[in-house]
């Protein structure tokens, strides 16, 4: 495992990250110069659609496809400069050191391959081990994400499992190489509330036990506030505010306040919800 913490250096350091898309109508700036750092903690990134939160996650793995252009003054993972790393170096990082769970298991799993074999493949890509060993590891991992009948699920195809189970399988696949950093992009948005929390609990336990860093990307501010240690609030490609999750109620930025206020509450009085008033000045000044 790595030595990031012992040297007092953050696991991930991002300075002035930008993602641009040149289009016929001009340059679209999806991410406009954001900076943050991450230790072995649960960091939430919250924002509305189009705020650049997913692009931030993808740039860390250098997965932004053409015509997108990523630039950063510094994008460093455990001492490795991601911006100048070769493709071969990136292949070693992706999956093994940093892995990513996407939103919808239906589109992330190979539909014509048994799920257990996909998990085992993820392990064998990074470790030279016999097939049988990989299979045993995959079954252990299925057990770790609390799948009751791992032998049966190992042999199942993706269409034979429910959404919640599919997402657990994705998490198993992403955690089996034992990465140092997990990026979860809306991992539970397609799930029912109770299943969502159960999947999060699994993620939480595994992250805590293995001492990983977690970047949790979501549009659900109240969920992130109760799940993560720190929260980054993004709007239009900029960071509006970074705050401790437990102090989110005391957040200062009008955008954060607006997002909090427009949520309906179970014990609210049913009167009109305050509508978020956007300020053009937010586009110019981020953190």
């Amino acid at each position: 495992m790595n030595v990031a913490d012992t040297k007092g250096r953050p696991l991930l350091a991002v300075e002035d990250l930008r993602v641009d898309f040149p289009t016929r109508k001009g340059l679209v700036q999806a991410v406009r110069g954001i900076s943050f750092s991450l230790g072995r903690e649960k960091l939430g990134i919250v924002g509305e659609s189009g705020s650049g939160k997913s692009m931030t996650g993808r740039s860390i793995l250098r997965l932004v496809g053409a015509p997108g252009q990523v630039s950063a003054r510094r994008l460093e993972f455990d001492g490795i400069d991601i911006m100048s790393a070769s493709e071969a170096q990136m292949r070693d990082i992706r999956g093994e050191r940093i892995s990513m769970v996407m939103q919808d298991p239906k589109f992330s799993l190979n539909p014509v391959m048994r799920v257990g074999e996909q998990i085992a493949e993820a392990y064998r890509t990074h470790q030279k081990v016999p097939r049988e060993e990989a299979r045993r590891r995959a079954l252990d991992m299925l057990r770790a994400v609390r799948i009751r009948d791992p032998e049966r699920v190992y042999r199942a195809y993706p269409h034979e499992v429910s959404g919640g189970m599919g997402q657990r399988i994705m998490i198993a696949m992403m955690l089996i190489p034992d990465p140092d950093l997990l990026i979860a992009d809306e991992p539970t948005s397609a799930l029912d509330v109770t299943v969502q929390l159960q999947v999060l609990a699994i993620l939480d336990d595994l992250v805590t036990q293995r001492g990983m860093g977690l970047i949790f990307i979501s549009h659900d501010l109240s969920l992130v506030a109760s799940f993560c240690d720190r929260v980054i609030i993004m709007y239009a490609g900029r960071i509006m505010e970074i705050c401790d999750a437990k102090n989110l109620d005391a957040a200062q930025h009008p955008y954060t306040r607006g997002l909090l206020n427009c949520l309906p509450q179970i014990d609210g009085d049913g009167s009109d919800l305050p509508v978020l008033q956007r300020d053009d000045a937010w586009l110019e000044h981020g953190l």
Partner: protein, 261 residues
């Protein structure tokens, strides 16, 4: 306004038989908002589809505005009751302009003053006349949902069936759409049935709600009971705990509430 008694919906037969709705009964008073809450597969949308006439295979009794309904509905029914769907990206024809989307129900029902009605309904849902000749891809998610609400309202129905109208929208846009629905209800005295998996949205909008699980209603309660955090059924309580956010300790006590035949 709406009465549903002993509603059953069964799909398929033999080994593939799915009992999607089991003996569901409820009534909704005129001008009220009734909530149906449950997780995916609980049958809440199926109840709504049976009510709206979209799903003809059901048994039991459904009456709307005092009239017993058969699986097949006549044209008059659709003037009385209209539906708004979950996904505004899927429920508007991608090659039809807003004008054409709104024109279709008017021409089916033989309205003559289409021009005036389209302008008026666009204003009412908070879109100006400048949106009239746009295509869906030129609109944001919230604007599309406003068009879908406009399409439902243009026949001046008395009942609106809302199937997860805001779950595909950002929270800030959700607030705008919920406010719009509240205002329209006040102005027009509409009766709503709102299906949602989000207990906070239901609590915000409704007077009365039914909690569904595995096709059956497990509990019917007043919203005031919900606000006092006093639901009685353990499934409702679990749903309530889950909607209050992530709590590591509470999650271990979650159970799967099965069906007892």
């Amino acid at each position: 306004m709406i009465a549903v008694r002993n509603l059953d919906v069964i799909f398929g037969s033999g080994a593939d038989r799915v009992h999607a709705v089991r003996d569901v009964s409820f009534t909704v008073a005129e001008g009220a908002t009734f909530g149906l809450v449950g997780e995916s597969g609980s049958g809440k949308s199926t109840v709504l589809r049976a009510l709206s006439g979209l799903n003809p295979d059901w048994s039991g009794e459904i009456s709307v505005a005092g009239e017993a309904q058969t699986p097949r509905r006549d044209k008059a029914f659709f003037k009385l009751s209209q539906m708004v769907f979950q996904d505004p990206y899927g429920s508007l024809h991608p090659r039809h302009t807003v004008d054409r989307v709104l024109m279709e129900p008017l021409s089916i029902h033989g309205f003559s003053d289409a021009d005036r009605r389209i302008e008026q309904v666009l204003r009412e849902v908070g879109l100006g006349p400048q949106f009239r000749f746009r295509y869906p891809h030129q609109l944001s998610g919230g604007q599309r949902q406003r068009v879908a609400i406009g399409r439902a309202l243009i026949l001046e129905p008395r009942v609106l069936l809302l199937d997860e109208p805001t779950s595909a929208l950002d929270v800030s846009v959700q607030a705008e759409v919920l406010n719009l629905l509240q205002r329209l209800k006040k102005e027009r005295g509409l009766t709503y049935i709102l299906v949602s998996h989000n207990l906070s949205v239901i609590a915000h909008m409704c007077d009365h709600l039914a909690v569904m699980n595995h096709g059956a209603v497990v509990e019917e309660l007043e919203v005031s009971q919900l606000k006092r955090h006093a639901p009685t059924h353990p499934y409702t309580r679990q749903l309530m705990t889950a909607s209050l956010g992530y709590d590591r300790a509470a999650i271990d006590s979650f159970q799967d509430f099965g069906i007892s035949e």
